[in-house]
Amino acid sequence: MNGFFSNTGNILFAAVFAIQFLAIVFTGLKNDRRALYYSNFVLLIGLVSGLFVTLSSKLFFALPTGPQNSLLNNWIRLDGLSFYFLFVIQLAAIPTTLYNFSYLRHYMEKKIGIKNFILFYILTIISTQVIVIANQAVFFLVCWEVMSISAYFCMILEKEKEEVQKGSFYYFAASHVVVFILYIFFFLLHHQTGSWFLSDYHLSFEDGAVISTIFILSFIGFGIKAGFMPFHFWLPQAHPVAPTVMSAFLSGVIIKTGIYGIIRTFLFIKPVPEWSGWLVLIVSMISAVFGVWYALAQHDIKKLLAYHSVENIGIIGIGIGIGFIGSANNLPAVEFLGFGGALLHTLNHAIFKSLLFIGSGIVCQNLDTRNIELMGGLVHRAGYIALFFLIGSVAISGIPPLNGFISEFVIFTGFFSIAGELKNYYPILMLIMVVGLAFVGGLAVACFTKVNAIIFLGSERKEVKHFHTTIYDYLSLGIFAALCIAIGFYPAPFVEIVQRVIAASFNIQPSSTLINMDWFYLSAIFGSIVLGIAALLLVKLWHHKKYGSRVSGAWACGYENLSPRMQYTASSFADEINTISGSILLYNKEIDKSEKPFPTPLKFESHSRDFVDRKLAMPAYGFLKSFISKIGIFNQTDIRYYIAFILIIITIYSLIAFLWT
């Protein structure tokens, strides 16, 4: 504690958390509305001031109000990586919390108790922040569990619904698996270094098999949390059923703690063996491709977005994989590009995924459904929501000029860099990766054109009486959208931050590949796009004035009575792509064909089930269950068996004793 209060930054830093904890107190208010407003407001103050303190740290602006690196007897440690993730968390949490005001009003109208939700929401946010700064293994685990459990309690806001029970339980079970794996992970680290402090964990190649074990454990453990492909199955179950605020936070931030864990592990064990880079790269590529492909087959908007989280985690993982390969071959340039891409995409994904979830939440609440087949034409009802959603969609598809492109661009450059630095067979493999990533981009385009078009464009498939939005909706979406645009158009400062994070805390040889990319060139090009569009818009206005413009019905081969039901559906839109990998997506179509002379109504439905869930996890559980049910030995009700057991077990033990040497 010595000297804790000697630094303004420390005091401010402590105050930030104190304010956030104070928010919990307000959830105790009797009146739901007051509890919501007061506690959320206090939390917002805490988060905003937290963001300022974070920004004033050495990593960002190096103001005197930044906290010291090591606090509370080194239980809390603030290195570049921690600050960066703290920044991501706080940045994403502020608009999400803003949206809370609007989102929870619907529940208050329905007389559903929300106080527990707010309480656990605040707890989740605090614990997530503490995770990335915790420097003591047990403390880390405690925060990790508190985060998981409080997120779980947030999820069960609408606990009466069966799907909520099921989906949240997936999450609950998955997080327990993670913790068990992390136990072993930390035990091994503790055993190797004799310390419980994360900052003391430095292992070297001489530790051989232990390094591999630690790496595998961290990749599986944190990978489950992050949602890499074979371990992703809880994600599409849990995200749709969570309240939107929570899905946004879960998808935007909580799964990033898994990424934080993997990168942190890298710092413990670097330089990593090269196979680990390939493992991460291949798993991530599979996650990216199939994540987005699964997303394309979904009709449930939140499930779709959940699968997109798998995809984006895959992209982040690709960056990490590149960094690992660079580390294994001692190529700082590649490391900077790989980890830089991963960290940037972490930030970007937090922004646009939260945006998309919140946008979808607004739509779902107004339409009272998550099925996109029942939506449509909302652009006429809520133009700005549609616009913000569009910005998020463009960003997540990795299309210029928004932020998604920036991080993908860094990752692409990372591939080129590996191919350039390591000749031999690397170019071929990297080319395949490049193509894979481009393919992911193409699928994302397909998916988000589908989502945008079906939800917002065309005409309304379901009667919407009143589309209710509040200022908070626009505020939170607006902040996110502005961030998407800002990072996209002016990436240089953000890249510089990432550069500094890697240079400061990754302890690798300096390299300026990341910062020396032509960022201003990109900004100029994007600027010129905007200029070009503006110019053409003026031309267009002039043209309309001169040659006129009018509105008329769409071409329908002369048919007059077009109805909203005749629009192209999401199922049909994605059908061709989904059919191609139907066996992995478990994509099945039900076409109700009529062969009668007078046609009856036809039906077309398509469904996709998760392969890992349906073909691996559930059958494994089912097998286990049926196997267990065959074990009748403990199922006796007769006391004579109980007594016989004593005799038998004594005989067996005695035999063991006799045979004991």
Binding site: V146, I156, F180, Y183, K625, F634, I643, F645, I646, A657
Partner: protein, 484 residues
């Protein structure tokens, strides 16, 4: 002498008194007083403020200090909620059972204290059997068929089991033949001191018999059935008492013989037996959780599981041994909360079937939240204590000579957790087909307060990790000759 009076004499006297005095309030008040003095004195003894001086056959060492505190802690809280529990019993037939409730409770305290404090195997055996006898009628509190069956099975199985333990004790004397101990009394301390010269064959045999015999009482598979039946059918406070303290007392017997054996060449063998038994019990809990349909039974199996974990820790040794002792402390507290809240649910829904309990979280929010928290606590989720003790056990296992077992253990624990969670959440959330018309709001009851206090204690011990507890457990491991 005063300590002997408080620990054993007073409850015994009160038991007699309660037999004649029929007024419930007086019985309750006196019992509570005895419980309070018991907890005070055992705390004083534990913290080292009071040097206890007990008559022959009795004695105190680090281990019994710890277990005595566990007992008096559990007993005190259980007594505290007993009165309100008795006022509103679930079954109408229970009236008859109330008459002997406090008498048996006092008798239980006396016999259990005697068992823990005993320094002699024979004394331990007599007292342990007496605890069975005091608990058996309490199991039959509801006076229904299930309770009767449970009581019969428990009484019979444990009696047979404890008879085997007696054989084990006799075999122990046999092992001392031809040594300086021959013809001497069966004091633990003597045996521990001269452990090296004991005949290993008989020592092994003795260990097997004592372990298997007491397993019926601890609930180590495959002898756990009687225990499970009894715990699941006993009234909530008694179930809490059994899970929290009685099983630990039985475990004490095993630990005594383990202490002797730990200094001899048979230690490896004893470890194998302990680990086998422990894994079998965890496996039994694992198997049962898949098909269980009765939440009290589920909790009983959870006890089987956790006693299995404790035994596993004892068997593995090292850090896991210390972890197991911490686990014993935490488990006893968490189990009390679980059983008390489950008792509330039982009282409301009049059924132990999981399917009959619907949307408990809305109809009885206080109990349900506590129940859920207790479930989280027992599943080893921080910041509750069991997390920390499990951490120690896991770490101890990973770096012992049996690291592979950790994977097996985690596999079992994971599915136990998943299945328990499935059951508990379905109780708490699942909507019933017919909602009762405006269920009356749940009022605060004494057992809510007790549950909250216990959960706070559970967290506080873990978070502040008091030195005295830590030191005590270090002392115990020293007694056992185990290097941390």
């Amino acid at each position: 002498m005063i300590e002997f009076l408080v620990f054993i004499g007073l409850p015994l006297l009160l038991a007699v008194f309660c037999y004649f005095m029929q007024d419930m309030i007086v019985q309750f008040g006196l019992t509570l007083l005895a419980a309070f003095s018991h907890i005070c004195l055992s705390a004083l003894v534990f913290f080292g403020f009071y040097e206890a001086n007990l008559p022959v056959f009795f004695g105190l060492d680090a281990l019994s200090k710890l277990f005595l505190l566990i007992l008096s802690n559990v007993y005190f809280w259980v007594t505290l909620v007993s009165y309100s529990y008795l006022k509103k019993p679930v079954m109408p037939k229970a009236e008859e059972g109330k008459k002997f409730y406090f008498m048996l409770l006092n008798f239980y305290l006396a016999s259990n204290s005697a068992a823990i404090l005993s320094s002699h195997f024979g004394m331990y055996w007599v007292a342990a059997e007496a605890t069975t006898l005091s608990v058996a009628p309490l199991i039959y509190f509801y006076r229904n068929e299930e309770a009767l069956e449970a009581m019969w099975k428990y009484l019979f199985l444990v009696s047979v089991g404890i008879a085997f333990a007696f054989i084990g004790i006799l075999l122990l004397t046999l092992s001392a033949e031809g040594t300086p101990l021959e013809g001497r009394q069966l004091f633990f301390a003597d045996f521990v001191k001269n452990a090296g010269v004991l005949n290993p064959i008989w020592l092994k045999a003795s260990f097997i018999f004592i372990f298997v015999g007491l397993s019926t009482k601890i609930g180590i598979a495959p002898m756990h059935s009687g225990d499970v039946d009894a715990t699941s059918n006993a009234p909530a406070p008694i179930a809490a008492l059994m899970s929290g303290s009685l099983r630990i007392t039985a475990l004490l017997g095993v630990m005594r013989i383990l202490q002797i054996i730990s200094g001899t060449s048979c230690y490896e063998f004893a470890r194998v037996i302990l680990i086998t038994g422990a894994l079998l019990s965890i496996f039994a809990a694992f198997v049962s959780m898949f098909r269980i349909n009765n939440y009290k039974r589920m909790l009983a199996y959870s006890s089987v599981e956790h006693l299995g974990i404790i035994t596993l820790g004892l068997g593995v040794g090292g850090l896991a041994f210390a972890g197991a002792l911490f686990h014993a402390v935490y488990n006893s507290i968490a189990k009390v909360v679980l059983f008390l809240t489950a008792g509330n649910i039982h009282r409301r829904y009049k059924s132990r079937q999981v399917d009959h309990v619907k949307s408990a979280l809305t109809s009885m929010p206080k109990t349900s939240w506590l129940f859920m928290l207790a479930f989280l606590a027992i599943s080893g989720i921080p910041p509750f204590g069991i997390f920390f003790s499990e951490l120690k056990i896991f770490e101890g296992m990973l770096f012992s000579d049996v690291p592979a077992l950790l994977v097996l253990l985690m596999f079992f624990l994971l599915f136990i957790f998943i299945n328990m969670g499935r059951i508990i959440f379905s109780m708490l959330y699942k909507k019933g087909s017919d909602e009762p018309a405006l269920p009356e709001p749940e009022r605060w009851e004494s057992n809510h307060a007790v549950a909250i206090i216990l959960l706070i204690i559970l967290t506080a011990i873990a978070v502040f990790s008091p030195d005295v507890l830590y030191q005590n457990i270090i002392d115990i491991t020293k007694d056992f000759g185990i290097r941390l």
